[in-house]
């Protein structure tokens, strides 16, 4: 009490402390006005990757299916579980396999973390691929988004490399022979093939050097590259004018006057202004106050959608990791390859093709695929059918893409289920 009379401001400061600290961190209260919603996205470090408003089409679940976000969240899960696994893993041929057994036997949540890491990795390869299909079938790689598509193709390749390098680390039979086979596929590249293989393995055969190299690539080099590419990929979404949408969804200047609320204050501020700093993007954007506004505030609409996708992704991974254990086979036996020795599933299409022709299956056809993917947006220049799934106007492009993708998927299915000992055709139902 005496304190209060002597120095009321100090006492008040103390009682105010929790509030003061809270307000210094979160500068905006939960918003109840459009101005507040705008500031929430704008002033929060983690939220300001979003534009203040996004087009309604961008958060339509059936348009994006949340696949891009899912890929990103799987990557986040992989980084977290991967760092945790690093606390117990040793990239040494004499210790790696024992550490796997330790994870199973004596590390709290060891099995569970490894399951999460393994299933997220497989999931990421699959989801990144599906995301690419979504972008293609909605024609979203077209101008001005050509380069972001190229970045996406690079992201797919880095994802595959990450998964491939991680495959060796458990140092079991599956790992050893899958990498032996995979590295041999790489050596079919003309001229530099054997050098690539030697640089990758650091030796003539898969051994300690290869394990160390794959470890460094897996935990440092490739994640750094992937993070950089993701950053540019995300940044370009905004600079290219947000997610793609159909032309019909675009507001035109001749359309009816604004129907949606733009707060009085903002309207006064921007009366004579056609664009803000955020307007310096390529592609269409809404001129504030002049056109019907089909955008919604990122807070809370977009943020809720993102949290939803995150929760779903995490929940699925948790359930799968509880239900299924990541495989761990016998320790490496350099003398006795399993019969058949198979590459990781996403390379089984290649291995199947390699069994017909070494060069064409291992290098030629995949190389042509990748080049086709990279140049697709620069060849397919028409501007029609963007923003609609399976647009009739894009029948040709979609058909070509589907057949190329189907070919690989069929090869993967044959390689996975229909190939037995000596790579002979077997029936999986026997």
């Amino acid at each position: 009490m005496s304190q209060a009379t002597e120095s009321p401001s100090t006492w008040k400061a103390l009682t105010d402390l929790p509030n003061a600290v809270w307000r210094s961190i979160f500068r905006n209260p939960l918003p109840d006005s459009d101005y507040g919603r705008a500031s929430t996205s704008f002033t929060n470090f983690f939220l300001h990757i979003h534009p203040v408003k996004v087009h309604q089409n961008s958060i339509r679940p059936l348009y994006t299916l949340g696949l891009g976000l899912m890929s990103f969240f799987l990557f986040v899960i992989l980084v977290v579980t991967g760092i945790l696994l690093m606390f117990y893993y040793v990239p040494s041929t004499t210790q790696a396999y024992d550490r796997m057994l330790d994870l199973r036997g004596s590390v709290a949540f060891g099995t569970f973390l490894r399951n999460m890491h393994r299933w997220s990795a497989h999931g990421m390869v699959a989801i990144v691929f599906l995301h690419m299909c979504r972008v293609f079938f909605t024609g979203s790689y077209k101008k001005p988004r050509e380069f972001n598509w190229v970045l996406g193709v690079l992201l797919l390749l880095v994802t595959l490399l990450l998964s491939f390098t991680g495959y060796l680390l458990p140092w079991d039979q599956l790992a050893f022979w899958a990498i032996t086979v995979g590295a041999s596929i790489a050596s079919y590249a003309p001229v530099i093939g054997n050098d690539i293989r030697f640089l990758l393995l650091g030796d003539a055969t898969v051994g300690q050097e290869a394990l160390l190299r794959f470890y460094v690539l897996h935990v440092a080099v490739l994640p750094a590259v992937l993070t950089m590419l993701i950053a540019v990929h995300f940044w370009r979404i905004r600079k290219d004018g947000g997610l793609s949408r159909p032309a019909e969804a675009e507001a035109t200047e001749t359309a009816a006057p604004p129907t949606i609320t733009i707060s009085v204050k903002a309207k006064e501020l921007v009366q004579n202004k056609l664009y803000g700093l955020q307007g310096f993007v390529r592609g269409p954007f809404n001129k504030v106050g002049n056109v019907p506004d089909r955008s919604v505030f990122s807070w809370p609409n977009l943020v809720i959608a993102e949290v939803f996708v995150f929760v779903i992704t995490l929940a699925v991974i948790l359930c799968v990791s509880l239900a299924f254990n990541a495989p761990l086979e016998e320790p490496v036996n350099v003398m006795h390859p399993p019969n058949p020795a198979k590459a990781p599933w996403y390379f089984l299409g290649l291995q199947e093709m390699v069994s017909y022709s070494a060069f064409w299956g291992g290098v030629g056809i995949p190389g042509v695929f990748v080049v086709l993917l990279l140049i697709a947006p620069y060849v397919d220049r028409g501007n029609e059918g963007v923003g609609v799934w399976f647009s009739r106007k894009r029948l040709l492009a979609n058909t070509i893409y589907t057949s190329v993708v189907l070919l690989n998927v069929i090869m993967i299915i044959i390689g996975t289920f229909f190939r037995g000992p000596n790579w002979e055709f077997i029936s999986p139902w026997r």
């Binding site: 022979w177 032996t180 086979v181 590295a183 041999s184 596929i185 050098d195 030697f198 640089l199 650091g202 030796d203 003539a204 055969t205 051994g207 300690q208 050097e209 350099v334 003398m335 006795h336 390859p337 399993p338 019969n339 058949p340 020795a341 291995q351 390699v354 069994s355 017909y356 022709s357 070494a358 060069f359 000992p421 000596n422 790579w423 002979e424």
Partner: protein, 157 residues
């Protein structure tokens, strides 16, 4: 800019030259550093199994021997007084081929080779390479897997 009038073309040229030279220097350094990184990650010495090794005296391989040294991934063949070393790494996808009645057979994807390593079936694209085999000064046989020789070239002892 202020002396553009006086310096005229000469000033511009000098500036352009500087720009060119520095761009060339920066770009060149970048190329050089990429190249040196590649040199760095290419090991000069490997720590795994040596590529050149001794396998013992010729007496250990009596005429008619076809002995696969699995750990070395090489098969020692002795035909009369002629010796050869044939790789047992499958040229398809790097598995270890085993000896079979007709030559070699790969357990992974079913490639088959004859006694001399020529492909007789399966997906293997190339015959099994032959390695250099020579007599070391101490009287032991030495195999160098870094040096391939023509199939059919034997060491006579």
């Amino acid at each position: 800019m202020h002396d553009k009038g006086e310096a005229g073309e000469q000033g511009t040229t000098r500036r352009q030259l500087t720009t060119w030279l520095s761009s060339f220097g920066l770009f060149g350094s970048a190329i050089l550093s990429i190249f040196s990184n590649l040199v760095f990650i290419k090991p000069r010495a490997t720590y795994g199994q040596p590529q050149r090794f001794n396998i013992g005296k010729p007496d250990a391989f009596p005429p008619g021997t076809r002995l696969a040294l699995e750990a070395r991934r090489v098969c020692v063949v002795r035909d009369g007084n002629k010796l050869a070393a044939i790789s047992t790494t499958c040229t398809h996808l790097g598995c270890i081929v085993g000896l079979s009645d007709t030559g070699f057979a790969c357990p992974c994807h079913g490639s088959r080779f004859d006694q001399d390593g020529n492909v007789t079936g399966g997906p293997a694209p190339k015959p099994l390479p032959w390695f250099k085999i020579s007599m070391a000064p101490n009287g032991e046989l030495e195999i160098d897997k870094d040096v391939q020789v023509e199939p059919g070239s034997y060491l006579n002892i």
